[in-house]
Every structure is written in structure tokens, then in C-alpha cells.
């Protein structure tokens, strides 16, 4: 009986945890895939995997990076499984217009379009740093890269974004 109660409590706690983190996981999956429907599928599948593996989560405070890693791996698996075709970025932007245009601030629409056009290897560390608050060391660990490689990618990401958004790049260091 006690086991049953404990199980229900654990279930409820995990459910609440996933619920609170879901918007961020969806955002992460969206910026990985640039496809809202695919992001929802990836996150749902990731939740199921997380549920099955919840015993490996020893500290609830570490739940977010733990789930982000699961989402990232699930996206990679989906990519392999479906053998997704190379996509036309302009088509993607057009397809995701409702998501991209949902913001109340119109001045960020151009930034969103520019982020969509960033190569995957620049977009992912930028999302982890700016949206998820990861440090360079944490990004390096997650992406299995060296610290300098992460910094190079972040530099290139910002340089490309700033140029695409018409920022004054006169002081940006050149490689």
C-alpha cells in the first residue's frame, strides 16, 4: 500500500516537473528542428524516455539539463530514423510563420528569421547559451566539443546574426 502511495507521489512529482519544463524543452526542440510539429513529437517521445529512465535522475535540480540531453538525443534519433531531407530555409521560415510571428515585439522578427538561417553547428550552442543559460564548459560537455571550439562557434553565430540583422559590425573581430 505504501509502495503504491509512494509510486503515485513520484508519478505526480515527475509529471509536475515535466509540465513546468515543457515550454523550454519545446523551444529547444523547435530551434534544433526549426519545425514546430516535429519539435512536439520529439518532446513527447523524450518525455516517455525520461519517464522510463527517471531513476537515473538523482537530483531534481538537474532535471532541466538531463531532459535537454534526452531531447537532443531524441532529435538526433528522429533525424536518423526519418532520414530527413535537406530543407530550404526560406520554406521553413514560411512554414513556421505563425510561430515566428507570434511575438508581440515586431523588431525581433528579423532576428528570428536570421536564427533560422544559421547553420546547425552555430545555432545549437547559441540557443544553449542565450536561452538555456549554459556556460561555455556546459555547452562543451553537452556537444562533446572543446571549450575553444564552442567559443569559435558562438563568435561565428553572433557575427552572422549581427550582419544579417543590419547591426553595426565594424568592431566585430575578423577571423
Amino acid at each position: 500500500m505504501n509502495d503504491q502511495v509512494a509510486g503515485k507521489q513520484r508519478h505526480a512529482r515527475f509529471q509536475a516537473l515535466c509540465q513546468s519544463l515543457r515550454p523550454d524543452l519545446l523551444r529547444f526542440a523547435f530551434w534544433l528542428s526549426r519545425d514546430r510539429a516535429l519539435a512536439e513529437d520529439v518532446v513527447q517521445e523524450s518525455m516517455l524516455r525520461a519517464w522510463k529512465a527517471q531513476d537515473s535522475l538523482l537530483n531534481e535540480a538537474a532535471a532541466k539539463p538531463w531532459l535537454l540531453t534526452i531531447v537532443r538525443r531524441e532529435y538526433a534519433r528522429t533525424f536518423e530514423r526519418k532520414r530527413l531531407n535537406t530543407v530550404d530555409v526560406d520554406e521553413l521560415i514560411a512554414k513556421e510563420e505563425p510561430t515566428l510571428a507570434a511575438a508581440e515585439e515586431h523588431d525581433i522578427a528579423d532576428v528570428r528569421a536570421a536564427i533560422m538561417k544559421l547553420p546547425d553547428e552555430y545555432r545549437e550552442p547559441l540557443v544553449l547559451q542565450v536561452l538555456m543559460g549554459y556556460s561555455t564548459a556546459e555547452i562543451a560537455r553537452e556537444l562533446e566539443l572543446s571549450g575553444p571550439a564552442v567559443l569559435t562557434r558562438l563568435c561565428r553565430a553572433r557575427r552572422q546574426l549581427r550582419a544579417a540583422c543590419g547591426e553595426d559590425t565594424a568592431l566585430d573581430p575578423q577571423e
Binding site: 523551444r27 518525455m47 515566428l100 508581440e104 525581433i108 540557443v127 542565450v130 536561452l131 566585430d172 573581430p173
Partner: protein, 235 residues
């Protein structure tokens, strides 16, 4: 000695890098300081751009649905529902009272620090911010935005972090109230301040408010959710 190119490469990769050598260079070089501020402003736009609206989702795990439905005599259900409703109304009023007094205390505290509400792009020094946050066992993610004011304030018998975060809609005051647990969120609109009190399980609550802003309650709630999300609890 760090040169401009090395500084700008480092800061382009991470505009919030608080490395001591970078800070020293920035303090002595107005051009690099202006460049850093330009990057921070751009990063705030990037952060807003990345934060696309996503649904919280009513049911996260499909197998979490209840598998049993209680079927009992309708009459008893009706009586039970009436009793529950009555309890909820009385209990709701009772539970809301302390939250109202907490909101009033937060609003009253604002009157003592009018200078905190300035609109600016200048962030407080990272060590000063850390000093204010350390006793509450938290740090802020870069996505939190520019923190233009940070003070440890006496509030209802405790020292609490009082921060002002610059947002596109103007300055937002955040008070981290680790000693004030709440059962549920509550919106308030008093004396020209509109805000919300948000429970943070295991860490008390947050007060998030704006002044004379004309922003809707829904937007305040959204900003509060972003603030909550920007906090990393270290203990």
C-alpha cells in the same frame, strides 16, 4: 596585457563573460565598453527572439490519465460538491488574506527606493550582484537580461534580494522572497504598481512588478514566468 582584438573575440563569444582580465580591459577602454553594451543589447533581442511562445500542455505524459472514474450516488455527490465548494470559497478567502498583506508590503517597500526604477542599459557589476544573491542561494542566467539595480533589503524580518531587470517593456522589479512561501499565484494592482506574487516550490516566492507601465496582467504573468525561469537555485 589584453589587446582589443582578443577582448572583442572573447566578448563576441560571450558578452556576459565576467573574467577579471576582460573586466580590467573594459574599464580602461571606452570603445570596448561601448562595443560590449552594443552586444548586450543585441543579445537581449536574440533572447527574446528565441523565446517563441510554446504551450505548457495540459497533459504531458499520455499514461498519466486517471484510469478510474468514481461512480457513486448522485445525491451524495451533490452534497459533497456543495460542502467542497463552500469550503473552497471560505478557504480561498482565508488563504488569500496573507497574500494580500504580502503584496501590500512589497508595494510599500517600493516607495523607499524610487531611484531603482531608472531605465538604463548599464548593468550592475557582477560581483555586486553575486553578493546580493549569494545568501538566497541563487544565480541568474544570462537570459535574465540587464540587471540594473541589486540591493539586499530588509523585508519582513529578513534580508532579501531586490533587483531591477531591464526588459523591452521597461524596468521590472523582482524581490526574491525565500522566507515567504505561497500556495498559489496572486496578481495585484495597487498604488500605480501592477505585479504578481508567484510561489516557487522549496524556495518561497517571487514578487514581480512594474510601475505605471500599462502592461496587462497576462503580460506581467509572462514576465514573471521568464524571471522564474532565469533563476538557477544553487542549494
Amino acid at each position: 596585457m589584453m589587446d582589443h582584438t582578443r577582448y572583442r573575440s572573447a566578448i563576441l563569444a560571450d558578452p556576459r563573460d565576467q573574467d577579471a582580465e576582460l573586466r580590467t580591459h573594459r574599464e580602461g577602454c571606452p570603445e570596448c565598453r561601448a562595443y560590449t553594451e552594443q552586444l548586450l543589447r543585441f543579445d537581449a533581442r536574440v533572447e527574446r527572439a528565441l523565446r517563441v511562445d510554446m504551450p505548457a500542455g495540459a497533459e504531458v505524459l499520455p499514461f498519466a490519465r486517471k484510469s478510474q472514474t468514481f461512480v457513486g450516488p448522485r445525491r451524495w455527490l451533490a452534497i459533497a460538491a456543495s460542502v467542497l465548494l463552500g469550503t473552497a470559497i471560505v478557504g480561498g478567502i482565508w488563504l488569500t488574506l496573507p497574500q494580500r498583506s504580502l503584496a501590500a508590503a512589497v508595494v510599500a517597500h517600493m516607495a523607499g527606493e524610487p531611484d531603482a526604477w531608472q531605465r538604463t542599459d548599464i548593468a550592475v557589476d557582477a560581483p555586486a550582484l553575486q553578493d546580493v544573491l549569494k545568501d538566497s542561494n541563487l544565480r541568474l542566467k544570462p537570459a535574465a537580461g540587464i540587471v540594473s539595480y541589486a540591493s539586499s533589503c530588509a523585508f519582513r524580518g529578513h534580508q532579501v534580494p531586490h533587483l531591477v531587470v531591464q526588459t523591452p517593456r521597461g524596468p521590472v522589479t523582482v524581490m526574491v522572497l525565500v522566507h515567504e512561501p505561497l500556495r498559489k499565484s496572486m496578481q495585484f494592482d495597487e498604488q500605480g504598481y501592477r505585479g504578481t506574487l508567484v510561489p516557487v516550490p522549496g524556495h518561497g516566492s517571487l514578487a514581480v512588478l512594474m510601475r505605471d507601465s500599462g502592461v496587462s496582467s497576462a503580460e506581467i504573468a509572462r514576465i514573471a514566468a521568464q524571471v522564474d525561469d532565469s533563476i538557477v537555485w544553487t542549494h
